[in-house]
């Protein structure tokens, strides 16, 4: 295809970082092992070699330190793109993000801004060590003042990261680590951005709406494609992309059309992203509902250590079952 290149998500994010460092001298990349080691997932490959130590910074091992100094740097005028090695360790930085990155603009009535990006690999599915597989986007999305996004593939990763870097607010950028090298996609040569706060209707349908994001999106896509082959059903599939702010309008519009909804995500069920979606659909599209909304999610337990990880994660069968039960209700 002219004007595009096939690549996996790791390469797509790397591409976006290269492009961002190139086009804006205020962009700096920082984190543990992002420089000469090129990142533990090699996402920051080639950056320090090209842009130097001043702009591609190997930081001490201190997540609060990384985000706290990034806040200071962003206030000063830089656009730091920070890597937290695994989203599980972002908790160290939670105070700086919640107390300051999320608040500076508001508490100074717009005078002080913190345009930074906190990017981190998240989620399970790669049989990792303990404390390396959690999905806690709901916790972070609950903080008013932060933006939280999660792409579902190479193209959306590249586009969303550019949007995040160009955004004048603090953006938490989740990278589903199981997708880093899972598949390739055509990514346009020209830089494109996907607006933060907008979901994408990836596939139209009329019997059921399925909403998902991240690695679960691929699971949902798989289930939907199989169902449409085997059953006489037509399913509309939405990629959430932006967790906060969330595109409730697109979801509700779809539910008004189909009357039925299934939400799929990896994170724990209790107070998870699906709960918010369901609450909004209740508020805005209640009269369109023909069946209770179902959610296919992880359980309210820490991710089991990798010998049992596959039981926790939503898989295509779980999704298909939920879809058919909802359609047949």
């Amino acid at each position: 295809m002219a004007g595009t290149k096939e690549m996996n998500m790791a390469k797509a994010i790397n591409l976006a970082l290269h492009e961002a460092l190139e086009r804006d001298e205020n962009v700096v990349v920082m984190g543990e092992d992002v420089g000469y080691d090129e990142g533990v997932f090699r996402i920051t490959e080639g950056l320090v070699q090209k842009y130097g130590e001043k702009r591609v910074i190997d930081t001490p091992l201190a997540e609060a330190g990384i985000m706290g100094t990034a806040i200071g740097m962003s206030i000063y005028g830089l656009r730091p793109v920070c890597e937290i090695q695994f989203s599980d360790f972002a908790n160290y930085a939670f105070n700086q993000m919640e107390s300051h990155a999320a608040r500076f603009r508001n508490r100074t009535r717009g005078a002080v801004k913190t345009p930074l990006v906190m990017r981190m690999p998240s989620g399970g599915g790669i049989r990792a060590l303990e404390h390396h597989s959690e999905s806690r986007e709901a916790t972070w999305a609950h903080v008013p003042g932060l933006k939280v996004v999660m792409p579902s593939g190479p193209r959306s990763a590249r586009a969303l990261l550019h949007s995040a870097i160009q955004d004048d607010d603090a953006v938490v950028f989740y990278e589903p680590k199981s997708l880093y090298r899972l598949f390739k996609e055509e990514v346009p040569d020209e830089i494109e951005t996907f607006p933060i706060g907008k979901a994408q209707v990836v596939k139209e349908g009329k019997d059921l709406t399925v909403v998902s994001f991240g690695a679960s999106f691929r699971v949902a896509l798989d289930a939907v494609e199989t169902l449409e082959e085997d059953q006489d059903v037509s399913i509309e599939l939405i990629d959430l992309l932006s967790i906060s702010p969330m595109d409730h309008a697109t979801i509700c519009k779809s539910v008004e059309k189909t009357g039925r909804l299934v939400v799929v995500h990896e994170g724990p069920r209790n107070l998870g992203i699906a709960a918010e979606i369901i609450a909004r659909v209740n508020e805005n599209a209640f009269l369109s509902l023909e069946a209770p909304i179902k959610r296919v999610t992880g359980y309210d337990v820490p991710m089991p250590y990798f010998s049992k990880e596959q039981f926790f994660l939503p898989d295509a069968d779980k999704v298909a079952l939920a879809c058919m039960e909802t359609i047949k209700f």
């Binding site: 019997d207 059953q231 006489d232 059903v233 009357g259 209640f286 009269l287 369109s288 509902l289 023909e290 069946a291 209770p292 298909a320 079952l321 058919m324 039960e325 359609i327 047949k328 209700f329």
Partner: protein, 477 residues
Amino acid sequence: MSQDFLLPDLGEGIHEAEIIAIKVKVGQSVKEDDILFEVETDKAVVEVPSPFTGVVEAIHVKEGEVAKTGCSMITIGTGAGASSAPAKEEKAAKVSDTKTQILTPVGGASTNGGNGKAAPAPVQTQAKSQAAHHANRDIPVPAAPAVRALARELKVDLYEVRPSGPHGRVMKEDVRAYAAGALESKMGTGAAVATGSRPQPAISLHDKYGGGDEKSEKSGGSSSFSTPSMPSVPGELPDFTKHGQVERVPLRSIRKKIAQSMMKSWTTIPHVTTFDEADITALNQTLKSVEKSFAEKTGSRLTLTAIVVKAVVSALQKYPQFNSSLDDEKSEIVFKKYYNIGIAVATDKGLIVPVIHNADQKSLTQIAIELQDIANKTRAGKVELEKLQGGTFTITNIGAIGGTNMSPMINHPECAILGMARGADKPVVRNGNIEIGTILPLALSFDHRLADGAEAAYFVRHIINHLEHPLNFILEN
């Protein structure tokens, strides 16, 4: 099913409680959480709420009595249809149903989800557990929000709608079907259907026959027609003698019966007449072509009327409302499962309507023969009593005389009457050309309480389709 409610453990080592007040009565409907009793323990007066929704069947305690924890206080009947909790989803190993296929409900009769063919359904008895719609207004009808919104929009009372979803759930299709008055799927199992129909209002031989005797009139002519009277406001008519000679004749017998009957029909049934035309060119030719052989075989004529009888039966089977009567007293529609077609016959005494019983079970030949037979007998005044009774629909044909059309009066207490005027040759447009065709005017007068204009139009069209394309007769069998 009946559920006993035992005095619960009220906490903190309480073993017994005095019944201070009983808040409900036997036979009373209660909802979950309604207060049943006030009881007093060592520590406090406690309100005891109902754990069930249902009807109080029996109360086992008295006010002032000391009840022990665990003793049965009250029995509440929770009918099978009373609970509106949705069932657990069944885990399907291989999902094979689609949304448009029939959902097999648990506990409800199966229905056609709009697939066209009316599934024969068991006749509903009036048992409480197998409600054909949710009659208990103390409990919400199980229906999804979208369904409720639709019902509100179409001004449909959800309690009247027959549910087709699982566990008695009302689906969107059910609401739509109800609103459109698409009763055909519900006719067979309709809530209003009762077993054992009421007997036809007895119209005695004297009334209908009016054999021309004062005797019959005296013996009870007007006894069955006790209700609607003739307008007999004295002084309402002008003095005709003022303008010329008059001859007064007592109104009796058949004429009187007809007058009373027509009066009743006119004043109780809101009449609407729908007019249409059938192109019977081909049919006439067919009739002509078989005239000779038919006469040879049966000794009778195969008339247009006979065919119309068969077409009417077919239409009545498809649109049963036209084969019904309205029981105003009981607010019930009486759908007749038999098809007795009355044929209006003009006699020198007046219009008499003998009836072809079970016309659905008779062949065209049989009907043609019977038609001729009873018409002759009626004119001769020799028709059997039973043959004048039990009609469910009437056909009146003035075609032999002439007439371009008419607005017939319904033969009370039927729902409708089909009038046929003369089938005349007229210019017709076929494929953009003007040709000569034999056009049969049809007029259906119907009781607008039981049927609507659209249905009437469909009904007549159904008949016309059979007259214009007789192959339909064969196809529908």
